[in-house]
Each structure stands twice: as structure tokens, then as C-alpha cells.
């Protein structure tokens, strides 16, 4: 090969690297890739959720600071790496961290003081809201919609209302609060460290691949079953960072700038996902009820509302907080911490209040004071109507978002 050929090849490599690992991906691409991972999990009999993992972290924290026994938190908890959702959450942060290194966007970012108040409040509200709705935007909105359950759509309405209330509250404080608005100086990253970021990122990829393979081929059955989860979480974090995929944004932006990109990306993901997921459920590769919490409709609606306010304050829902943790935002570390503690505390309190007392119905589904496990194919008698109901909801959402993009009728700024 001539010298010129060599240089050309290297230039091409740099250009490709930039396009894939530095340039932001379209949210549409992100949503499609995300749905592929979720469908992959479903084929393995699993569903995507984040709340359960965060609650486990909260249980640990509450036991550590001594309020666990008061709340009745079990003292023997599953380990952080063996709990499926906890493991997936951790690898999601790792995936986002790796993507942030490869794009050289990783930065330990310290917010102004007031932001810690928002992170604390937002985290607490999200923990409470997710407990009532039976999960966060992933586990109680996205997954139920995929599983042909109206629970997700009811939470969707709650989330929208919450987003409006949250935005109004933020606007009010912008006018009336002066305290804690000053940003600390941006941390300096030395040029040599910055140029080492991509190599560190590559190191993370190799380490995670080794970990996943080691577990997947392990004789220990529990490890072998979790090799896939390690990879799924890592890929999810990577994709979410690259495309800046954000449910909080999807619910907030139409009411803020009327821009509907992220919302439409989520709609596209669901439009592709719902029919395929239905097929997987129909073929009995996964039990639909696994991903449907007994919260229709009171829990889904009220939980969604509270969660919606919280995610606006925090600047990210559960998955959005996790991937931004990987990018280095201290505010989201604080939000996730309080989300976890609040999830554990709310769970214990609602249990004490008797809201989670469950009854097994005639059709073997579960019902609590917060609602039932609603499932379209059973409610409507067949898959045709169920798919029509899901499809119609997606279409209406799409039309409203597009209409709003032209008219800005729903913005509250």
C-alpha cells in the first residue's frame, strides 16, 4: 500500500469514528435500537424496568442509615449484582459512561446550589410516583404499552399533567427565587487526559465484554442467566447517551418549545415494538402480566402525575437520570440517590397503609387498592381490538404532537 493510501485509510477511520462515536445520533435511531434491545429481553422472558433496581439500592441505604428496621425493610437483600434490574441499571450507567468517554463529552459537572434542591425534591417525588404507578417511565409507561396494557396510557396522561405542573413551578421560581443560581467554575480537563478518553472508553468496552462472556459461559446458573443482562444494560446506556434519548424530554418539550422530535421518536419505537411484542406474547415467549403492574387506573394516573412533576425538577426520569450519571452530572447522582431512598420509604409506607394488599382475581390477575392489571386482549376479547386500541392511542398522540409543532397551542411558557 502506498503512503497516501495509508493516510487516506486513517482519515476515513477518523471520519467514521467521528460520525459514529462523537456526532449525536438521531433520537429516531436511538428509539429503534432501544426497542430492539427490549424485544431481545422479551425473547429471553424478561421485561425492561428500572424502578425495582433503584428501590433495592434504597433498601440498602435505609438499612445502612438504620431506618430499615423501622420501615420493615428485609435485612437479607439480594446482592446488587444478582438483582436483575439493579445489575441492568449499573451497566446502563457504565454504557453511558463509556459512550461519554468515546465522544470526549464526559465531564464531572457541578450545578449551582439551587439545583441540589431540585434534585432532592425531584428524586423524592419520582420515588413516590413510581411506587404508586408500579414503576418509572420505563417499567410503568413504556413496558405496559408494549404489553398491550392501558396502564401505560393512563400513566402517560398523568406524566403530561405532571410535566405541565413541574414546568409552571420551575417558571415561578425563576421569577421569585434568587438564591443558589451561581454556577461553580467548570472543572478543567487536561488535554492529555481528554485525548486518553477514547482509549479509556475502549478499555471499558473490553472489560464489559469480558465480564458478560465470562458470566454467560459460567457454570453458575445465576451468572449464566445474567450475562445477557450485562450486555443489554450496557448497550441501552450507550444508545441512550448517543441519541440523548430522554422520556422526560418527550413529555416536557411539547409543552415547552413545542418541538416534538423526542416524543415522535418514542412513538416510533412503540409503533414498531407493539406488534412485535404482541407476537412474542402470543407465542408465549414472555408472560404479558410480568410487565403490567396492578395499578390501573388510580395508581397509574396519580403515580404518573407525581412522577411527572419529579422528572421535570430532576431534569431526567429514571433512565434519563442514569445515563446522565454516566456523563458525569452530579445533579442526577443526587436525584437518583433520593429516588432510591424515596422508593424504598414510599414502598414501606404504602404497604403499611394497606394500599398494596393484593387479591387474586378469578382470572388469576392481581388487584390492589391502587388498581388492577388491565390487559387489552382480555378486556376486549381478542388481539385485533387490542392492537387497534394501542395503535389508535399512538396515532392520536402523534397527531397532537404534530399539530402542536405547527400551532404551539399546548406550550405553557
Amino acid at each position: 500500500m502506498s503512503a497516501d493510501g495509508g493516510v487516506c485509510w486513517l482519515d476515513g477511520l477518523k471520519k467514521d469514528y467521528h460520525e459514529i462515536f462523537v456526532e449525536e445520533w438521531s433520537p429516531y435511531l436511538g428509539a429503534v435500537l432501544m426497542i430492539l434491545i427490549i424485544l431481545g429481553l422479551m425473547v429471553s422472558g424478561m421485561f425492561w424496568g428500572i424502578y425495582g433496581g433503584l428501590k433495592l439500592w434504597g433498601d440498602y441505604i435505609n438499612n445502612m442509615i438504620g431506618i430499615g428496621p423501622l420501615l420493615g425493610t428485609p435485612q437479607q437483600l439480594e446482592t446488587l449484582l444478582m438483582h436483575r434490574m439493579s445489575l441492568m441499571n449499573m451497566t446502563l450507567v457504565l454504557g453511558a459512561f463509556c459512550a461519554a468517554l468515546l465522544s470526549r463529552q464526559f465531564l464531572i459537572s457541578r450545578p449551582p446550589k439551587l439545583e441540589y434542591v431540585w434534585a432532592t425534591l425531584g428524586g423524592c417525588l419520582m420515588g413516590l410516583g413510581a411506587t404508586m404507578a408500579g414503576g418509572c417511565t420505563s417499567g410503568a409507561f413504556f413496558t405496559p404499552v408494549l404489553h398491550s396494557s392501558p396502564n401505560g396510557w393512563v400513566m402517560c396522561i398523568g406524566l403530561m399533567a405532571g410535566a405541565v405542573i413541574g414546568l409552571k413551578a420551575l417558571l415561578w421560581t425563576l421569577e421569585n427565587v434568587e438564591w443558589g443560581m451561581r454556577a461553580p467554575p467548570t472543572l478543567n480537563v487536561s488535554p492529555s487526559l481528554l485525548s486518553a478518553y477514547p482509549w479509556l472508553g475502549l478499555g471499558v468496552i473490553i472489560a464489559v465484554l469480558y465480564w458478560a462472556t465470562d458470566w454467560y459461559t459460567s457454570d453458575n446458573e445465576r451468572h449464566a442467566a445474567r450475562g445477557v443482562v450485562v450486555l443489554a444494560g450496557f448497550a441501552m446506556g450507550f444508545i441512550m447517551h448517543r441519541s440523548r434519548l430522554c422520556f422526560a424530554r418527550a413529555f416536557r418539550e411539547p409543552f415547552m418549545t413545542a418541538e416534538g422530535h423526542m416524543t415522535k421518536a418514542i412513538i416510533l419505537g412503540l409503533a414498531i415494538g407493539v406488534p412485535i411484542a404482541s407476537l412474542l406474547i402470543e407465542r408465549k415467549l414472555i408472560d404479558a402480566y410480568l410487565g403490567i403492574p396492578p395499578t390501573f387506573w388510580v395508581g397509574s394516573l396519580l403515580g404518573g402525575l407525581i412522577f411527572g412533576v419529579g422528572m421535570i425538577f430532576a431534569g431526567g426520569c429514571a433512565s434519563g437520570s442514569l445515563w446522565r450519571m454516566g456523563e458525569g452530572h452530579i445533579k442526577l447522582w443526587v436525584a437518583a440517590f433520593f429516588f432510591a431512598v424515596s422508593a424504598s420509604v414510599s414502598n414501606a409506607l404504602l404497604k403499611k397503609a394497606g394500599l398494596f394488599v393484593s387479591e387474586i382475581m378469578i382470572d388469576e390477575t392481581v388487584s390492589t387498592k391502587l388498581g388492577i392489571q388491565a390487559y387489552y386482549p382480555v378486556m376486549m376479547g381478542n388481539w385485533g381490538w387490542a392492537l387497534l386500541a394501542g395503535g389508535a392511542s399512538l396515532l392520536i398522540w402523534y397527531i397532537l404532537v404534530s399539530y402542536n409543532e405547527c400551532t404551539e397551542k399546548f406550550t405553557v411558557l
Binding site: 449525536e24 465522544s103 463529552q105 465531564l107 459537572s109 457541578r110 450545578p111 449551582p112 439545583e115 414546568l167 420551575l170 417558571l171 425563576l174 421569577e175 451561581r182 454556577a183 461553580p184 467554575p185 467548570t186 472543572l187 478543567n188 480537563v189 440523548r244 430522554c246 424530554r249 416536557r252 415547552m256 418549545t257 413545542a258 418541538e259 422530535h261 421535570i312 431534569g315 431526567g316 446522565r324 456523563e327 452530572h329 445533579k331 442526577l332 404551539e408 411558557l413
Partner: protein, 75 residues
């Protein structure tokens, strides 16, 4: 570049840089320029969309040492 007002949005993530910019612009008059400094990589697309939606002109976007600088001209 000359500017009439300065907004420090460092350490903030969405939606706050946009909300604060909106507020700052509301206190300015036509033709005045607002400078915004931010650290959230997400703010690049946000300010492009914000300018397009509000009709205020995004004069420039630059990145230096992990800080993004935007100049927006009030319509």
C-alpha cells in the same frame, strides 16, 4: 463578539438553560445580543431548536474547554 447581556447556564441541564434564556430575552429589546455559557452537551440542539421556534437568531455556537458559548440576537 459584542453582547448586551450575559447568562451563565453552566452546570445546568435541560430544561433550565432554555428557561433562563427565555427569561433573559424577555428583559431585552429588539436587536440586542444575549451571550449564554453552558456545559450540557444537550444544549447545542436545544438552542438551535429554541432559536428556530422563537424566531430569535442564533448568531454563533462555539465550544471551548468543555464550555459551549451561544450568541442569540433578540428578534
Amino acid at each position: 463578539m459584542n453582547f448586551d447581556k450575559d447568562l451563565d447556564a453552566r452546570g445546568l441541564n435541560c430544561p433550565l438553560p432554555i428557561l433562563r434564556a427565555k427569561k433573559a430575552l424577555a428583559e431585552m429589546t429588539s436587536g440586542q445580543v444575549l451571550r449564554i455559557t453552558a456545559t450540557d452537551p444537550g444544549s447545542v440542539k436545544d438552542f438551535a431548536a429554541f432559536a428556530k421556534q422563537t424566531g430569535n437568531e442564533l448568531l454563533s455556537t462555539t465550544e471551548n474547554n468543555k464550555e459551549f458559548e451561544y450568541f442569540i440576537k433578540h428578534k
